[in-house]
């Protein structure tokens, strides 16, 4: 775990990282096995909808207050999941379980910064006679 703020020395020491990794990998394998055999049972989830968090499970009816685009009759999937739990395991998201949307990023290279025309004598521009601003 990365320490965000504190520089206090930890009271414990990691002796064998491999063993720790093996231990937690075993837990993950057990969870995956249960899921693949469909033995996990009823799942519940904490989902983030319209700025609020709801703890939901199959068959629940939830009231979402405020402006929300989907109409009545739409089938939607709620993707901002903070926590999923079953009878034997819990998946805790930090903060979300899985990143579900990608914001498009564009890299721009700045080639040149220049001042065109003299200060206080800007170049004349035509075609703006009909503009109101």
């Amino acid at each position: 775990m990365t320490k965000l703020y504190s520089s206090v020395p930890t009271p414990y020491e990691i002796i064998d990282a491999q063993e720790d990794r093996k231990a937690y990998q075993e837990i993950v394998n057990n969870v995956n096995k249960q899921i693949s055999e469909n033995k996990q049972g009823r799942l519940f989830a904490v989902v983030h909808v319209a700025g609020k968090q709801f703890k939901i499970t199959e068959g629940d009816v939830v009231v979402v207050e405020g402006y929300w685009p989907p109409d009545a009759g739409d089938r939607i999937s709620l993707d901002k999941i903070l926590l999923v739990g079953a009878a034997d395991f819990t998946l805790i998201g930090r903060p979300l379980i899985q990143r579900v949307y990608r914001i498009p990023q564009t890299l721009l290279r700045v080639n040149k910064i220049a001042i065109s025309g003299e200060v206080n004598h800007p170049p004349d521009v035509t075609g703006l006679e009909t503009r109101i601003f």
Binding site: V46, K55, G85, T90
Partner: protein, 149 residues
């Protein structure tokens, strides 16, 4: 004898009094006794009711936050962790569950809540987050006669 000018002395207050008062009586429908039937009593109580409704919107949020906090504290005590340490550690671990959800889990999903307290405990140990202890009496001001000795 027909007094044709007398009718001019009748001053109409306006035709809408009935509906103006009906607006108030509609809001006072559930009140007790004269408060729902007599206008001058009803208007006072309707105004108070509306003021209470306005103030109550904020109080409702505060009340629920307090309730959730009480429930989470109770759950934390059962797992031997302090509420403030618990919440701070969760935030630092990037687990952003709010009080409503944490209270829900504490009530209905005890194993999940236990897992969260364990995560918080480990993080608290890592970061050195501890309970703020009482600082006790800082200064004592002596009054009355002070014998010089």
């Amino acid at each position: 004898m027909v007094f044709t000018t007398a009718i001019n002395f009748v001053r109409s207050r306006g035709p809408d009094e009935f509906w103006r008062k009906r607006k108030i009586f509609k809001l006072a429908a559930a009140f007790l006794g004269r408060r729902r039937n007599c206008y001058s009593i009803a208007i006072r109580n309707v105004h108070r009711a509306l003021v209470y409704a306005t103030k109550g919107r904020k109080l409702k949020k505060m009340d629920f936050a307090n309730l959730w906090q009480t429930r989470i504290t109770a759950g934390c005590e059962q797992h031997d962790i302090d509420y403030s340490v618990f919440r701070e550690s969760l935030v630092r671990s990037n687990i952003l569950l709010n009080r409503k959800t944490l209270a829900d889990l504490a009530c209905w999903e005890p194993f999940t809540f236990k897992a969260l307290t364990e995560v918080a405990q480990k993080r608290a140990v890592d970061e050195g987050i501890t309970v703020v202890k009482d600082r006790g009496i800082v200064a004592v001001h002596k009054r009355g006669s002070q014998k010089k000795n």
